[in-house]
Symmetry: none
Subunit: 246 residues, 2 copies
């Protein structure tokens, strides 16, 4: 039997959504910009409003635009490259997924850090140092954003100079962000915790600088295990408080 590709009869709303996405990634539409009104889009694309609305609605659920009732639609502030579709993520995130992700990170990062210690360039090291400096700043102010934390880990993946592993790591860090949004676990607010986290990062960094793969791996795995334990403790505490409250 011959193997042929099925012809995809592209539907109008999809076509429109893709065109808008292209406009965004081309920079013709920037975050914060207001889209033309639905009536204008109707004329521009030469289709009816339901088609426009199906497209916009899909973009809204993908958290790419925001539709404000009686006001208009606006481009949201988001990086399309790293964007993971929220609807899809919701299916994946069952309870306990955080731990599976952390386990997966042990696999990926426990290895990327070895490669990083072997192959990091001077530039890679400078990048890592810069992020660390930013984290120290945040630490002094008492709050530690998850943003720079994840960037630090991504930079290590980059320093491994393996593009596949880097992209996998990018996906995982996207998942982490979504998870934390859902579970609202801000372990980083515990007193003394930011300093501890920064110290662990420094340890990893130094092992990379000194080109000690094994030490780097151990430091990374310890770090991830520490996060897991802290998460778990926090979760237990919360569920106990909830039980008491009743």
């Amino acid at each position: 039997m011959l193997e042929v590709q099925k012809i995809s009869k592209r539907k109008i709303p999809q076509e429109i959504a893709e065109q808008i996405i292209t406009l965004i990634s081309n920079g013709d539409l920037a975050p914060g910009d207001k889209l033309p009104t639905e009536k204008k889009l109707e004329e521009m694309f030469g289709v009816s409003r339901p088609s426009i609305r199906e497209a916009l609605s899909a973009l809204e659920m993908a958290e790419i635009i925001e539709m404000r009732h009686g006001e208009g639609s606006f481009i949201r502030d988001i990086d399309l490259n790293t964007h993971i579709h929220p609807l899809a993520v919701k299916m994946l995130i069952k309870s306990g997924t955080v731990y599976e992700i952390l386990e997966a990170r042990k696999a990926i990062e426990g290895y990327t850090v070895i490669l990083a210690a072997q192959h990091a360039t001077q530039e890679d090291l400078r990048d890592l140092e810069n992020i660390l400096a930013k984290m120290k700043e945040e630490m002094k102010l008492g709050h530690l954003g998850e943003e720079n934390d994840l960037i630090f880990h991504l930079r290590i993946a980059k320093a491994s100079h393996n593009s596949i592993l880097y992209q996998v790591m990018e996906s995982l860090s996207g998942l982490m962000k979504h998870c934390q949004k859902h579970t609202r676990q801000y372990s980083r607010c515990i007193p003394g915790r930011p300093r501890e986290i920064v110290n662990q990062h420094i340890k990893i960094f130094q092992a990379i600088v000194n080109k000690k793969p094994n030490a780097a791996q151990k430091a990374m795995l310890d770090h991830l295990e520490d996060i897991r334990i802290t998460c778990q403790n926090l979760e237990n505490k919360l569920s106990m408080e909830n039980a008491e409250g009743r």
Copy 2:
């Protein structure tokens, strides 16, 4: 200024999309299942067809369902592939990617095999044994398909009981297939090679059965390293033959 959360006036299509997603992650709707017709959904939710369509259209663009004209809507089997794959495919074109993938597999599989040795159920072990048996059959006939090889590795990832790692591994094995189609490296045709590969798999399998994580990891890493070296040798040989031929 007080910080308050904006009340999200949840719109009907979003509500519907989320309810359908919930049905899927609850297992009430499984991949391949047909959704009720739009008319029926209309009645079930008590809303109009445009609202239903906005919801379905969004789910389609999220690649969660597939709408077939004149037929109906169907649940797709969705996984992380959706997100990792498009990114990864771009990297395919570069030569040398095979080695990056193999390196990535060391990271993933070097860890999944540990988890597998710890958590594999009786059923997992049976699955692995079956695949091994098939490979032995193929070996006797002299040719060793890549198909069962990759399945064996996937089954190990499954036995780790970490869905994230499994899905990443699925992506990587997809990439492997593509790569081999491109580079046409059939190292498995070298005399004596099939037996060697099967033996390495047996070694991994036994370590898992005996619940020896460290031994399993070593066997896996050795196996992947062996593949890398063989690939490299073959590549050198081919390029030398090409140089001579001219």
